[in-house]
């Protein structure tokens, strides 16, 4: 898990600042162009769901673009599944509206919505064969398609999920990964406008999950169907999605591309949730268009940018990704003591302690380590980062 996270982080960190900036500009230009053109395929308008006094979702506003791969990301109980179930029709919003293809569907029952779902534990019908499971949706259509037509569609779906010839099998004869594909085939055979995926890979082992993630992504591109994924696995969301909707306590915290969220988290919560980060708490000293300066413990001033403006005097945290910090022997920057070292292959992660700022993580690439030489626990060193690289985030 950790390992995977870091390889990903590595991918991002290899991009230099400039090229990142250019990419960002290009992305936002592209985005605004598509946003302007297409009507959202699905929309949540101030949608809330209350169970008595319990608030499962509060004031959700989200437009989902045709053909995109969107993930709801958050810990359990954050409202992401409720959002998905409102789109599927299993939950009616307490207030607000759900729109599919521009139509208000609050009162449309699930069986009349042009969406299909892949359930968390697949929810395959145990009394039916694989082929019967996949044919189920087609057989509900009125008028019912001809048997030959259904059989052809089923075979094709089995091909798509790479299970040709598995039609006559019983569900319990299939492995977890195979069941996952059957669940997928059962949904996509109906050619839904939106495919909803509720933690579809939670039950798979890590290796299988990775394979499946790639397959899903490929499938989404080839089918051109809008995919909406619910997951609590940040790595899964980051690697697959066009956009991620981060949720917390029933509310949407931030929506954006994986890179947006990684580079410009709107809050400490997002920064903490997407990738790994060091947080140095303190008070905002100055805040202007040029940048924001945080006064941290021991009077250390950390300069950075604030994605959301924070007034001077407020408490906040400076966020620095471990890979943004360099570790070296020459007396430049903060004097630290190496506490621990973890070898991660391409990188080495050091836990270091500073007298005032406490412990934080530093990720050193193999290349940098080759130049500087390795550190052992107990060694003295200095840590530094590019001035103004920190993100100053409000505490939430």
């Amino acid at each position: 898990m950790q390992f995977v996270v870091y390889t990903l982080n590595g991918v991002f960190s290899t991009l230099n600042y400039k090229s990142r900036h250019i990419l960002r500009v290009m992305e936002s230009n592209l985005k605004s162009a598509t946003e302007a053109k297409a009507t959202p395929i699905a929309e949540l308008r101030d949608a809330s769901k209350h169970y008595g006094a319990v608030v499962a979702a509060q004031g959700l506003n989200l437009s989902i673009r045709p053909g995109e791969f969107l993930s709801f990301l958050g810990p359990s109980g954050c409202g992401k599944t409720t959002a998905l179930r409102m789109l599927a029709g299993f939950e009616a919003p307490t207030s607000g509206e759900i729109l599919l293809d521009g139509q208000r569907v609050n009162d449309v029952p699930p069986h009349q919505r042009p969406v299909n779902m892949v359930f968390q534990h697949y929810a395959l019908f145990p009394h039916l064969t694989v082929a019967q499971n996949i044919a189920y949706g087609l057989r509900q259509r009125r008028p019912r398609p001809a048997a030959a037509e259904i059989a052809r569609a089923v075979d094709q779906a089995l091909e798509t999920v790479r299970l040709p010839g598995f039609g006559p099998r019983r569900i319990w004869e299939m492995s977890g990964g195979q069941q996952q594909r059957v669940a997928l085939a059962r949904a996509i055979v109906n050619q839904p406008k939106i495919l909803l995926l509720d933690e579809p890979m939670a039950a798979l082992d890590k290796k299988l999950r990775r394979d499946m993630q790639i397959e899903l992504q490929t499938l989404q591109r080839s089918l051109g169907i809008t995919f909406i994924l619910v997951t609590h696995d940040q790595e899964e969301a980051l690697s697959m999605s066009d956009r991620i909707c981060i949720m917390r306590g029933g509310r949407i915290v931030q929506v954006g591309s994986p890179r947006d969220l990684y580079d410009r988290p709107a809050s400490r919560y997002v920064a903490d949730f997407v990738g790994k980060s060091n947080f140095f708490p303190g008070q905002v000293a100055t805040s202007s268009g040029e940048g924001t300066v945080l006064a941290a413990a021991g009077g250390h001033r950390i300069a950075g940018t604030a994605p959301v403006e924070i007034a001077a005097g407020r408490t906040a945290s400076a966020s620095l990704r471990p890979e943004q910090i360099a570790l070296h022997r020459k007396a430049d920057g903060l004097p630290v003591t190496v506490v621990n070292r973890i070898f991660l292959g391409e990188h080495t992660e050091y836990l270091v302690r500073h007298a005032d700022l406490g412990e934080f993580l530093v990720l050193v690439s193999r290349q940098a380590e080759a130049a500087e030489g390795g550190f052992d626990p107990g060694d003295s060193a200095h840590a530094s980062w590019a001035d103004g690289a920190a993100l100053i985030l409000a505490d939430d």
Partner: protein
């Protein structure tokens, strides 16, 4: 190794002894008796004759009556138990569910004999018929009719039918219904295509329990049917306790056991088919 084997045997011994004493030995005794002769004063005299089996025709009517009562009674139980179990498992709020389930079992806390007496009063002329009469709905004869027997059977056996079906429905993965709905099936079709087939093992178990017990039922027909309809269970009671023709009674009992075995075999075959060859489902 050996010690462990010994321990296993010690643990199994009580169950084994019980099985031997309460099931196997009586069955052997009944089987042996079936080939004997009735003593001059009743009872059993050792012999080897097939006469008792040749005489089975004398209880043919009783067998016929039983083969009507048992399926009809089972079906009546099923028709009432299924909606009840469905309501309990899928509709009732969890707060009410426990209470309602207890209410289903409560009658089992008293003897069926006392409960049958209650029904004798309820169905008798001073009970429900007089109530109907007061409401101007006629004064039907209820007690000592086949209808009364059916009521008694449904009443007495309902829990045996409700519980296996309830368990099957309660264990039903509710997400399957969501999946069905998601795939375009309206609720009533989801019931027919998902709920019903997946509750079949419970239905089969309930039917089997009720059917087998009804095959030997004698109390309800005797009490609520006025003893005017003679079932194989009544024939057995009379043969053992009244005319004390034990060998003939044993032959009738053996015939009954054979009929039950055939029924159970058919049941296992059917449920295995429903379960698509998986054995563990058929036994719930």
């Amino acid at each position: 190794m050996q010690r462990q084997g010994l321990r296993t045997w010690l643990f199994l011994a009580p169950a084994g002894a019980w099985f031997l004493c309460m099931l196997v030995l009586p069955l052997i005794v009944v089987f042996v008796f079936a080939f004997g002769e009735r003593g001059a004063a009743g009872g059993y005299v050792p012999a080897f004759t097939f006469e008792n089996f040749a005489n089975l025709g004398a209880r043919w009517t009783a067998f016929q009556n039983t083969m009507v009562l048992a399926p009809v009674g089972t079906l009546a139980c099923l028709l009432i138990a299924y909606p009840l179990a469905y309501f309990l498992a899928l509709r009732a709020s969890s707060r009410w569910r426990t209470l309602l389930l207890i209410l289903v079992i409560v009658p089992f806390w008293t003897s069926i004999l006392i409960r049958s007496y209650a029904w004798i009063y309820l169905l008798g002329g001073q009970g429900i018929p007089s109530l109907l009469n007061a409401l101007g709905l006629g004064n039907p004869r209820l007690i000592n009719t086949p209808f009364a027997v059916l009521i008694g059977i449904v009443y007495g056996y309902l829990p045996l039918m409700v519980f296996p079906i309830y368990v099957a429905l309660e264990r039903l993965d509710k997400r399957l219904l969501e999946a069905s709905s998601d795939l375009g099936s309206p609720p009533w079709r989801s019931f027919l295509q998902v709920t019903l087939p997946l509750s079949m093992p419970g239905v089969a178990t309930g039917c089997m329990l009720v059917f087998i017990l009804l095959m030997g039922e004698f109390l309800i027909p005797a009490m609520l049917g006025g003893g005017k309809v003679f079932f194989i269970g009544n024939a057995l009671v009379d043969l053992f306790l009244q005319s004390r023709n034990w060998p003939f009674g044993a032959a009738v009992a053996v015939a009954l056991v054979v009929v039950m075995l055939v029924t159970v075999a058919a049941y296992l075959r059917f449920t295995r088919r429903w379960a698509g060859g998986r054995d563990d489902v058929s036994l719930m």
